[in-house]
């Protein structure tokens, strides 16, 4: 009896948390899936309408535009954050005296909510009162930086602010990775006469592969979920130039009382997220022989 209990104890410990997740995450996803084929407007309603909501969704220019914006934003955000994070981590790893001062400076934006830093960014990027204005006052009259006001460039300002927020965190991940590299490998390479740049390019950066993967997962999910940022910085404008799927979903579900369409966009978002994460996860769990 007691042995039986001991044998099942691990599963009993894991059980409650797992059941919570099954219910509150997967149960709710199934529920949303049902809403997406229902006639829900302001509140959930359960009349079945087939794939109507999906058809209407894909006819909305607003939706396809938000997907395009996500593609631009997501790609730039992930690439710049990773490159910048790695670059800063390598720089910081050169036995810098001020590391204790610099590291929290790079890291702190992650600690702030965008409810108000959004306003600070908005002002800073605004040509009339922010950087451009200041440069003009300092005498650099031809300086121009008005992306946030431009339909074609506003999305890049969202990237600037988003990179500001999370690149420090990525830097910390890479820094941890760099500190974990076995110093003997580097010493051996140095004895062989390899240059610094070459050691980084050929030995250390390839060793960072798992960190790249972790960073990619973290960044991809932040990119797809980006909401506060856009609302605080541009409100989706100018026009619809910075609308993202997350803001689209909120707007249709809660502001426009078209919950069915909102739910169908949520399902598409989930499919997108899972199609990025699942292969990664699969590869990761497969390549795991020691456990």
């Amino acid at each position: 009896m007691k042995d039986w209990f001991q044998a099942w104890l691990p599963r009993l410990v894991l059980g409650p948390g797992f059941l919570l997740i099954l219910f509150f995450v997967y149960g709710f996803i199934i529920y949303t899936g049902y809403l997406s084929v229902s006639d829900s407007k302001m509140l959930p309603s359960y009349g079945f309408v087939g794939l109507d909501n999906y058809e209407r969704l894909w006819q909305l220019r607003h939706w396809t535009g938000s997907l395009k914006n996500l593609a631009i934003f997501g790609a730039l955000y992930i690439v710049i954050c990773s490159v910048l994070g790695l670059f800063l981590a390598i720089m910081l790893d050169q036995k810098i005296r001020a590391e204790g001062l610099l590291r929290p400076i790079y890291l702190y934006p992650m600690a702030l909510s965008f409810i108000v830093t959004g306003t600070a960014w908005k002002w800073f990027l605004d040509p009339g009162i922010g950087l451009e204005h200041t440069m003009h006052q300092w005498g650099w009259e031809s300086f121009e930086f008005n992306w946030i006001k431009s339909r074609t460039h506003a999305i890049y300002t969202v990237v600037i602010a988003a990179v500001w927020q999370s690149s420090g965190f990525v830097m910390a991940m890479f820094l941890a990775g760099l500190r974990g590299v076995d110093p003997d490998i580097i010493r051996a390479a140095e004895i062989d006469g390899a240059s610094r740049v070459r050691i980084y390019r050929r030995i250390i950066i390839p060793l960072m592969r798992p960190v790249f993967l972790s960073a990619f997962v973290v960044l991809a999910h932040l990119a797809i979920k980006s909401y506060d940022l856009v609302v605080a910085l541009t409100g989706g404008g100018p026009g619809k130039a910075t609308e993202l799927p997350a803001t689209f979903m909120y707007s249709y579900t809660f502001s426009r009382n078209l919950m069915g369409i909102g739910a169908s966009s949520a399902i598409i978002m989930l499919i997108m997220i899972f199609s990025i994460i699942v292969p990664y996860l699969y590869a990761e769990l497969r390549a795991d022989p020691r456990r």
Partner: protein, 415 residues
Amino acid sequence: MKTTTIAASVALVLGLSTVTAAQAEDVEVLHWWTAGGEAAALDVLKQDLETQGVGWQDMPVAGGGGEAAMTTLRARVTAGNAPTAVQMLGFDITDWANEGVLGNLNSVAAEENWDEVVPTALQAFAKHDGNWISAPVNVHSTNWVWINKAALDEAGGKVPTTWEELVTVLDAMKANGITPLAHGGQPWQDATIFDAVVLSMGNDFYQKSMIDLDMDALSGDEMTEVFNRMEKLRSYVDENFSGRDWNLASSMVIEGSAGMQMMGDWAKGEFVKAEQTPGEDYLCIRFPGTQGSVTFNSDQFAMFGQDDGDSDAQLKMASSIMNPVFQSAFNVVKGSAPARTDVPNDAFDDCGKKAMSDLAEANTANSLFGSMAHGHAAPAAIKNAVYDVVTQHFNGELSSEEAAGELANSIEAVL
């Protein structure tokens, strides 16, 4: 009472929760007047209720002109934990009434004769199937223009009364080297100007296009002309307008770097805060061509039916809201006009007095219309469809002809 005790002791035992279950004589109020003067003004109502023995549990949720509060409301109603009273706008009230969850205020309305004193256009929202379901607090009118007096004097000094005169003044201001029109490029601000321009094409046209949603009116030549005028106004806006908060635009008018702003009467608060006097430092006029007509939005408090039946407190609250003394005190601070026509105007400044007389005049002349930009002409889905088109056009993504066609199409798509 018993369940309250149990809930309280459970909360104590858990040691986590600080919940105090609402007393029978409490109202929990969900609203978005969360900061500054308007929140302080609402405190008057709270104190009034407390003298009547009704407690006030405050539940403010700011964001997006009430959108965040409406999201909260949906979560609360779904959880079976609806607040007792909720600030609401226009069609939201109708939508919730259709769900059958709103309380009935007929007894107090009959006693205090609301039918006589509340403008008919407001009753369209405050009553549902002949029953009073909400108590209106104020009437904001949205077709105002706020003009810097000195800038106008320099530009000829003549207050514009027609579209052509407006263009003349704006041109003169431009020639004087200031930004003629201070504006913030956010969809609701674009749509606020759009409202006024549509109304300037005549009361019938506003009624047909914005309220009856007549497809011919929405896509016709007059609508194209509306968009042409929007394009004209766009040319008087500085290049950094996009995304600017409305109060920064007001500051431009106050500082004199811009000539005028087209904005609802909440903008007056900025001028008051900067210690300016109407008539001396700034002027408030109706959008040229809309004199005698008013587009409005009205904040109202709707009451949600409760299980434990504390409707007595709700009726007291409704009655306090409609009290002329509160209506005067609150609206003086808020910049709006009282939601009843029999409130004395002594406490109001010149713009406030004008707002009240315009409102009364529009009410009798049947030229008081719900504002499309502020959710009083059509439900949320249509309002947002209008936002989409107006904003795209204002940002140069559509020509005027295309915009008129697109307007009809996108409204039809969500009807």
